[in-house]
Symmetry: C2
Subunit: 448 residues, 2 copies
């Protein structure tokens, strides 16, 4: 029976989890990969879904499809509730348990509102496909509402977009929203001019793209400003409400606030019963095993990892991939009776795009900016996409935007459960109708 095989359970189908499974694929082990969603997400391009350049299926693949040709890999869609490290079992929400011999945890991170968790409602972050679709809807609906709004003050607030945090996600979002407003939406409105939209990027530190070389940070700031983004440095947001936010001594009226300022690890530490660091991450040994559990590994954003020079490993896709691969190799080393090795993170570089023909690329040994960096950024991202279909479709979408300035995915879709009314197009009022008539009102099936 297969029961005699070593069972590796991988939690999370992000970059860390997928690369762990990849590394294990030729070994004689049984693998189960568990994720609460059914898809792997190419997060570096997620901001393009949020800004209507790409559609969801261009940046995501079902984990099952990725595992199609690996009969030894079982994919489970499920939500972890706990881990029993004594019995070596993962507990899922549907009350099933999944036993393991080795466990690799790569469950990623979520936004951190630094103690102001009620801000999440007011200032959504960008981590999932649903986040991206929600931000896209919020941005497009703001222009729709502005078109109908007679009060110029309110119109202005609707057309003001604040982004908190000027790391790569914040910078890319800011650049893409200003481009959407000034180029893609330009001719689509009659009462407003979308080119008057304000995009304000607020950063607590003293430069945008903090981890990049200073010269590139300065370039990115200037490139953003040249495009019309207002960059505010050295300012912490002190309050967010439905009409805008406060920072320093300032008040900004902005109906849309997007949060790109910090992340907190998934609750793996709680599942394991170990103490997390202040970002919620699990402390790991040099070989990425969790202190006290030699058969449990934590990787990616979930783990508090150090590079060989003692600096923290950044929360980027490539770090998740490298650590996922390392953990898988350590599982195999243990199986082969070999000693484990310390994880040697190698930082390959940082990339961020600002807009058409403008990006910053810092590979350490070489720093690029402007048009050349933009090409490097684009080619690198196409290269890292998972399959040919997506590569071709993303290239086509980009080409279309590049040539026409128009964006193909400007759709506002209600979430099915959020949808108040099922009428196809223009429809009737919800509340003051003849009660005999309300029979055809919604109560939409939530569809699973």
């Amino acid at each position: 029976m297969a029961d005699r095989l070593h069972r590796v359970v991988v939690l999370g189908g992000g970059f860390g989890g997928i690369s762990a499974v990849d590394t294990l694929k030729r070994a004689d082990v049984e693998i189960t990969i568990i994720d609460r969603r059914n898809h792997h997400l190419f997060q570096p391009l997620l901001y393009q879904v949020a800004t209507a350049a790409l559609d969801t299926s261009q940046v995501a693949w079902t984990i099952r499809a990725l595992m199609r040709n690996r009969p030894k890999v079982k994919t489970l869609m499920g939500t972890v509730t706990d881990i029993d490290t004594e019995k070596r079992e993962v507990h899922l929400e549907d009350e099933s348990t999944v036993p393991y011999h080795s466990l690799i945890i790569s469950t990623g991170s979520r936004h951190d509102y630094f103690g102001n968790d009620h801000w999440e409602e007011l200032a959504p972050g960008l981590k999932t496909l649903e986040d991206a679709v929600a931000i896209r809807r919020q941005v497009l609906m703001s222009f729709e509402a502005a078109e109908r709004e007679p009060d110029p003050q309110k119109q202005k607030a609707l057309m003001t977009f604040a982004i908190v945090g000027a790391g790569p996600t914040g910078v890319e979002l800011a650049g893409a929203i200003i481009e959407l407003a000034k180029e893609s939406l330009r001719d689509e409105y009659r009462s407003i001019d979308p080119r008057n939209a304000r995009v304000v990027l607020i950063e607590g530190g003293d430069q945008v793209l903090g981890p990049f070389d200073d010269e590139l940070s300065e370039y990115a700031k200037q490139a953003l400003e040249k495009r019309g983004v207002e960059v505010v440095l050295n300012q912490l947001v002190s309050a967010i409400d439905e009409d805008g936010l406060d920072y320093g001594e300032e008040r900004l009226e902005a109906k849309t606030v997007v949060w790109a300022a910090g992340v907190r690890a998934s609750p793996a530490a709680r599942w394991l019963g170990v103490e997390a660091d202040k970002a919620g991450r699990v402390p790991v040994n040099e070989d990425l095993s969790v202190k006290g559990f030699e058969n449990v590994f934590c990787v990616g954003d979930t783990a508090s990892m150090k590079a060989p020079d003692g600096s923290p490993v950044p929360g980027i896709a490539d770090a998740a991939k490298q650590s996922g691969r390392h953990a898988a190799n350590m599982v195999l080393a243990r199986l082969g009776g070999e000693p484990t090795k310390p994880f040697a993170y190698k930082h390959k570089g940082d990339l961020a795009t600002i807009g058409k023909r403008a990006a910053a690329v810092d590979l350490g040994w070489i720093k690029l900016k402007g048009k050349l960096a933009w090409w490097v950024w684009g080619i690198a991202h196409i290269y890292f996409l998972i399959d040919a279909r997506n590569r071709i479709q993303v290239i086509l979408s980009w080409l279309f935007i590049y040539l026409t300035g128009r964006r193909g995915a400007q759709l506002i879709s209600q979430g099915p459960a959020a949808e108040p009314d099922p009428m196809e197009e223009v429809t009737d009022e919800h509340h003051d109708v003849d009660p005999a008539d309300t029979g055809d009102e919604p109560a939409r099936a939530s569809g699973g």
Copy 2:
């Protein structure tokens, strides 16, 4: 001032509304098009979104983008609550009013549950992008749940898909779901074999594709059965519940039921204060004006229209287009002081696809089935797509499916507001956690 121009208001951005605006584009009139969604939808391919072959942006375009180069056309996203035919004003949900001189109503239809409106929750229909994404999620989640389900009875019910109504939508959905199960998902599961999925198509009439030529209907039935679809004729569904449905003397355990059995017009009759026919449609004069209101026209699924031979005009895209164009021409005729003419509907044909290399095409003067019909169907649909980007992307998606059997859009996305938990990947339990820890729980911004 522009106030002197004749103001035409078009309600609905479906096929009827868009073709009305198209017809008016060279006339010296002011046009406002109002829809509660921001997009025009290519409904004939919507079932392909529901079955993971295409993504939402491939079958929809924002109305604004379609109107980009028409400065005389104003697009409003808004929900009609009433029409004041005395004052000639459309009232919107946000309490604004839109005055008109001429009004063209093309607000489409929604499913009709024949008095059993609570079935909507249990058996969603397919009319909107949200419907399609909900059905896609429901179908894919059923396989996911079946993979985890130990009870063989429950597993069987999860893998049984009932479709009520065997018109083109029902037939196309049935063919696509069986293809999804038998081909696309085939190698993706370990505990279940998706090829064991049952698709049951239940029709009250005595043939599938009722409006088609008998020979084509018989062909379609055989083609469906050859692919594994169970076709049940002459049976009315008498009950639907969470575990399945009853028809005739039979009980079918099916966790997924999709409704494709009937439509009811949008509530335009109520807005106008006129009596609707039994399908909720507005009775119209021969020239498509509403009885009693010579400056108000109803077209498409909203209107009860007759063909020159006295037969009812079918609720298909081309009928909406023809009637929208006619209504717009009648507005122009009146403006020019000319008499209006009766609407002369010309039925060009019916098309439905069953699966790979199988379709039925009935153009009256020629009837096609099988491979040739499938090519005609595919080319016709590509031709009618609105722009080059979509054409290329749909062709690519189809080519990819044709060559690999895989579908690119098998993503399960939670509706943002429906989403219980924002954790990126595997995440913690919702209820029995340390209360001090729930700070990072959701309360997701609904995003507009």
